[in-house]
């Protein structure tokens, strides 16, 4: 199953609800394009909801990192929400847990952004 992206606005924060697989040739390009579009529209407070992401490979992990650095370099913030156990494990193994601000509750995640 390829990745799907649903975009919504909550209190000035852009929430991307991602579902499916973020892998080379499936979700990576979709995610990259979505982040680029948001930066171009000056929507740079972004919460990635990964609750329905069933699978990430190394390309998908790399795409999350690229999204994080792109938003940060543009002066924004990108945070992660609702990681599955599999995705949590991958972030632990690769030490990317030390990079991302990971949240498990949407309301507190929204309020944690700099406004």
């Amino acid at each position: 199953m390829s990745m799907k992206v649903n975009t919504r606005q909550v209190d000035g924060i852009t929430v991307l609800d991602l579902s499916g697989r973020i892998t080379l040739g499936e979700g990576s390009v979709t995610l990259r394009d979505a982040i680029r579009d948001l930066i171009n529209k000056d929507q740079k407070s972004i919460l990635l909801n990964l609750g329905d992401v069933s699978y990430l490979d190394s390309s998908g992990l790399g795409e999350l990192v690229t999204a994080y650095t792109s938003v940060k370099n543009a002066g924004g913030e990108l945070k992660l929400l609702n990681l599955t156990k599999k995705v949590q494990d991958l972030l632990q193994i690769t030490k990317l847990y030390t990079v991302f601000d990971v949240k498990d509750d949407e309301a507190s995640a929204i309020s944690s952004f700099t406004k």
Binding site: L24, G25, D57, S59, V65, Y68, I93
Partner: protein, 172 residues
């Protein structure tokens, strides 16, 4: 894509494992199998190989938590073969085999590309590399498998992965 499937029954092994083991484990232990595939250098092939690895590991009786790790390791090796090895060449194939040897799953992935200098791969955990957008594939393969061995071919690269199936007795 070419397929070769070889299934043989191991009666002695079956007799030793029938007692006090769930049905899926008995079925898994009752056969030894080997699959070989020759595939086009495409991302569709990568997904196909990943699915086959998942099914093979399930049939071989691996722990359900381990099966996705094996499938991901195979996927990452297949991506390396297709993208970095054969560079998506329409004329170059890559080869994959899965086999159970006793309690060990052995996976071999080979390509016929230029090859990669594995010694030059950066450490993805190093602070200077942690924000790189790539370079975590081989690291994940090594994290998920028991042993990973690379061999240079002429031309190409062959990687052999092994993963031991943990017995139920060892779990208790």
């Amino acid at each position: 894509m070419q397929w070769f499937l070889d299934i043989g029954r191991d009666a002695k092994h079956t007799a030793n494992t029938k007692r006090n083991t769930p049905k899926w484990r008995r079925l898994a232990d009752s056969i030894t199998s080997r699959i070989e595939m020759t595939l086009d250098s495409t991302l569709e092939s990568v997904s196909k190989v990943e699915q086959e690895a998942e099914h093979f590991a399930e049939r071989a009786g691996f722990d359900p938590d381990e099966v996705p790790h094996i499938a991901m390791a195979v996927r990452e090796c297949a991506i390396n073969a297709v993208m970095h090895g054969n560079a998506y060449s329409e004329t170059k194939k890559f080869h994959v085999s899965f086999a159970m040897e006793e309690d060990v799953m052995k996976i071999v992935v080979s390509d016929s590309g230029q090859g990669v200098d594995l010694d030059s791969l950066p450490d993805p955990l190093a602070p200077e590399n942690i924000l790189r957008g790539s370079g975590r594939g081989i690291f994940l393969v090594k994290a998920f498998m028991d042993d990973v061995h690379f061999r240079k071919l002429d031309p190409g690269t062959e990687v052999t992965l092994t993963k031991r199936r943990v017995s139920e007795q060892a779990d208790h």
